[in-house]
Symmetry: C2
Subunit: 209 residues, 2 copies
């Protein structure tokens, strides 16, 4: 009994060691460029050993992504106390941008890596993403809905789903564009956080009548 639970704990520990090594390499040199053999080498074991803990490379990636999306959800939840929904919306956007700038590696994994989030057709797979409390998109959607219910937005912006997508796209564009082209010298990049403030101010005021 005691030994059995220790076994489980040890198994979880090596699972975590694999995840840590994989995260490091994924963010360091990209997902495609990271080989299973390289992950194994960092763990001082062989590549097939990883397959005893994870089905394949993609489920390894998926697990990392679900971990990190929880971190963003926690940041968002902390902003739930802001009473004015418009103020809250702006702060959510700024927090999102700051999250992306502070954790570029995680951000790239979460929002710029296609194929990182396919779930198995199992029944329980949908549950964690459906919980609106911890789901970042759910929090955004709820805030937008609250504003729309208050009648603050123009008639073209009465669909909370669409407004949420527009809003998310705006901040995502700012973060991801800067990430991809930050090193290119042919464009004189302005401070991203200030750009975010002005962009969101314009967007939100433009949505009001």
């Amino acid at each position: 009994m005691s030994s059995e639970s220790r076994r489980i704990r040890e198994r979880q520990a090596t699972r975590d060691r694999i995840l840590d090594a994989a995260r490091e390499l994924f963010v360091e040199r990209g997902v495609e460029a990271t080989t299973m053999r390289a992950i194994a080498e960092r763990l001082e074991c062989t590549a097939p050993a990883i397959y005893h803990h994870f089905a394949d490379k993609q489920s390894l990636l998926r697990e990392l992504v679900t971990q990190d999306i929880g971190a963003l959800g926690a940041v968002f939840q902390r902003l739930g106390g802001v009473v004015d929904p418009v103020d809250r919306l702006v702060r959510l956007g700024l927090a999102y941008v700051r999250f992306g700038l502070d954790h570029p590696q995680h951000y790239r994994l979460l929002f710029m890596t296609p194929g990182a989030k396919r779930e198995l057709p199992g029944e329980a797979a949908v549950v964690p993403i459906e919980t609106p409390e911890s789901d970042a998109y759910g929090i955004l959607h709820a805030t937008v809905s609250e504003i729309i219910r208050g009648g603050t937005f123009h008639g073209d912006f009465g669909d909370a789903e669409r407004v949420s997508q527009i809003y998310w796209a705006a901040v995502h564009g700012l973060v991801s564009l800067h990430m991809v082209f930050a090193e290119d010298r042919w464009i004189e990049w302005r401070d991203v956080e200030t750009s975010a403030e002005r962009m969101l101010a314009a967007l939100v005021s433009g949505m009001m009548e």
Copy 2:
């Protein structure tokens, strides 16, 4: 002499046949998922034959991308005739979104893949991107500058560089976010072009006083 020029023409013809087959497959199933052998099979030749015309897979990609970025530049230039700069700005944004939706694979390579556009250290490499006429960003920047000179924008939006970046980020976010998450069922995606229209309307009106 006549035979030599015919040889060159034939060589160019097979080059183009390879490019066409590669473009079809890249668009159809993605760049990573397209193998050199698959391209060769469509051409009814073997994979190594391609290497007599292109150095490697990436230069095949680069050639297609250069063609398509020229296409984007051409689309933008065609909008130069719109006299009202604000109207032109909105149309540029919509054209950009439409371009991204029409050429998702090339868009992904151009604007979502870091390091995919590294040029050789040759001297002539910088020239095509510096020409302001065909450079899409240059056209955007020029349009924004024209609006700012006209005094249409609020004081916070007097820096053409920053405004251009905000504007580009907005449309890029819309396209890229949809590309990465289009297949996910947990979000009910709204029509992207309509979202673009409303987003740009809000953004532009929010930038005016």
